[in-house]
């Protein structure tokens, strides 16, 4: 293939795809603002940092004494989380509901708002990463939308940039209610891994979560009637008038809707220069009279890093499937009572085993604690306790085994097992004669350090 011809053809086909003047103005606005911020930064940093540390420590102590009964019980070998604040505008702390499994998740911090929206945050910590498992649940019958904003991390240097979903870039999500007679999920959860370095004895995590609902009587509060001509905005308004906050089938307020709003209400782009995507979208929707804020949960807690966490590692170990057809090398592996982090490389020892039929064969593994157990990890920890599926896919194409593949997976566990099992779930694995080969589970022993 000719690179130059390929490049020219792409550019020809995408000739109309260029940065719009509005987008360029916004980029200028954002960078100019950051430039000004840097220029105004004349106040000494150490003093407020020291004051903040003292304030955090005092608050932590006060909270520990005042709310001890409300905090989850802390076992000796677990990470300690201390809630610092629990909600402006009606938010109150609540003990997290007891887990269905035996191990008590002592290190979960829950916050509940008067609106019936609950936010749960848990964390796992290793020397170089902080995993935050978060869950938002709504007890309301109507649809709500929420966003994260003002996420901050103190007490450790973050090395890879804050996760977008917690930094408010792409966390705008709609929960609960019904659409076309179908009940929508009232729970949303995710895991955010933050590379960190130089962690001190305490890491303070804080964020704010404003909660909105569809306005009782959606209105269109803008003077410019011309904007009503926009077809997609009219579609959005139709949906809103039908009490559907869900604007698109995908489940979220989409970027296209945001763009429609901003084109109609914020052509200059200044509005977005100070807001993240999710925050700006909801504020703009509120400004338009489409949604109204219910309340706001402010969550903050301290992670005590001095107590040590049980840790197992199997870095670099190679595991072969019982038939010797392929190896799995764990190139990075961290496991705590709360999380499993794994990167892996799969190498075939015998290309013939994948040549049964042309096309792409996908190996899918599930990670299980007991290979004879028909339940998956997800099913063993119901009610949204598992925050990430752990399906490891590896591709074999046309008889060629890809020498390596890469995946990152994480999930939540409530206890540290002696071993886990990688259980093949795909049965489209054939030998040269086209005979189906059933794979056996690969046991991965976890060596406690």
């Amino acid at each position: 293939m000719n690179k130059e011809a390929f490049r020219r053809q792409i550019d020809r086909e995408m000739a109309d795809v260029r940065l719009s003047p509005e987008r360029m103005r916004r980029i200028h606005s954002l960078t100019d603002r950051k430039g000004h911020q840097a220029g105004r930064s004349v106040f000494p940093h150490r003093l407020p940092a020291a004051l903040l540390s003292v304030a955090v420590a005092v608050c932590a102590l006060l909270m520990l004494f005042n709310r001890h009964a409300l905090l989850p019980r802390i076992s000796e070998d677990r990470r300690v989380f201390i809630a610092l604040d629990q909600g402006e505008g009606g938010g109150t702390p609540e003990p997290t509901p007891a887990p269905t499994e035996a191990a008590a998740p002592a290190d979960i911090v829950g916050f509940a708002a008067a609106s019936g929206v609950r936010f749960t945050l848990e964390a796992a910590y290793t020397t170089d990463s902080l995993s935050l498992f978060w869950r938002v649940e709504s007890d309301r019958s109507d649809q709500i939308a929420f966003a994260f904003r003002n996420f901050s991390l103190e007490g450790a240097n973050e090395t890879g940039g804050l996760p977008d979903e917690l930094n408010g870039v792409d966390s705008l999500t709609v929960l609960g209610g019904t659409v076309s007679g179908e009940a929508m999920p009232a729970i949303y959860y995710g895991v955010s891994q933050i590379p960190i370095a130089d962690a001190g004895p305490e890491i303070t995590v804080s964020l704010t979560m404003p909660v909105y609902r569809l306005a009782e009587e959606p209105r269109f509060a803008h003077d410019d009637d011309a904007s009503l001509d926009d077809a997609s905005l009219n579609d959005a308004l139709d949906a809103l008038n039908e009490k559907r906050l869900l604007l698109y089938a995908g489940g979220s307020v989409t970027a296209a809707f945001v763009r429609t709003l901003e084109n109609n209400f914020d052509p200059g782009g200044d509005f977005w220069s100070t807001r993240t995507y999710a925050q700006g979208t909801l504020e703009l929707a509120e400004k338009c009279g489409l949604v109204e804020q219910l309340d706001e949960i402010s969550a903050a807690f301290v992670i005590d890093t001095t107590q040590g966490m049980p840790h197992a590692a199997a870095d670099g170990q190679v595991y072969s499937d019982p038939a010797g057809r392929y190896d799995i090398r764990l190139s990075a592996f961290d496991m705590t009572p709360l999380s499993l982090y794994m990167e892996y490389i799969v190498t075939s020892n015998d290309a013939a085993t994948s040549t049964g039929r042309p096309g792409e064969l996908t190996r899918t593994f599930e990670v299980m604690l007991d290979p004879s157990d028909e339940q998956t990890i997800d099913e063993r920890f119901p009610e949204g306790r598992t925050v990430s599926h752990l399906l490891l896919d590896t591709s074999y194409v046309d008889g060629i085994v890809y020498g390596c593949d890469y995946e990152l997976s994480s999930l939540r566990l409530t206890s540290l097992p002696e071993a886990i099992y990688l259980v093949p779930r795909s049965h489209t694995f054939y030998d040269k004669e086209g005979t189906l080969l059933r794979d056996e589970a690969i046991r991965v022993d976890l060596t406690t350090e």
């Binding site: 792409i10 995408m14 719009s20 960078t31």
Partner: protein, 171 residues
């Protein structure tokens, strides 16, 4: 010979007009093909330029400016693809399955074929053939071994050749 930047040069803030004029369209097209969504691509390019502005003083000139900025854009797109928001919108399997291109993107033969490639093949073909990056740089950028990049590139070429037949393959 590679010239490293001096401290004074690094301390200077970049000329955003120049950067956007020089790389804006190419980055937007790259992000469009990467994310298969015009609106998200514009957001990704915006995030990229903001990061470039913030981190420009860390650019040491060890690679070309274009490679450095492309790496930021690719990382931004990869974060978008991994995010719960994107997964919920495109479906969890959407990262690896062939999808129809969204209607707001141009209906060109080559870009349609590129967008139908699974993500891991799409990214190497874009970086190697559209951005003209060296395989070694691509491997470092994606965090995978060099042979992996080479294998993926070969496979991606075969997929494209199958899809495009004799359209643009003149060698």
């Amino acid at each position: 010979m590679q010239m490293f930047l001096t401290d004074t040069e690094r301390a200077a803030k970049p000329d955003m007009d120049r950067l956007m004029a020089e790389y804006g369209a190419g980055l937007l097209r790259l992000c469009c093909l990467y994310l298969k969504d015009r609106a998200q691509a514009e957001d990704a390019v915006q995030d990229t330029f903001v990061k470039v502005y913030e981190k420009y003083d860390t650019f040491e000139g060890r690679s070309s400016e274009k490679t450095w900025i492309t790496a930021i854009a690719v990382n931004t797109c990869r974060n978008y693809l991994r995010s719960p928001w994107h997964r919920r919108n495109v479906g969890e399997q959407g990262l690896y399955l062939v999808e129809q291109a969204p209607p707001e993107l141009p209906d060109g033969t080559v870009i349609q074929a590129v967008m139908k490639l699974p993500t891991k093949y799409r990214e190497v073909i874009l970086l190697a053939y559209y951005q003209d990056m060296k395989l070694r740089d691509i491997a470092a950028m994606l965090g995978v071994p060099l042979p992996t990049v080479s294998t993926r590139l070969k496979r991606a070429r075969r997929m494209l050749e199958d899809a495009l037949k004799e359209w643009y393959y003149d060698e």
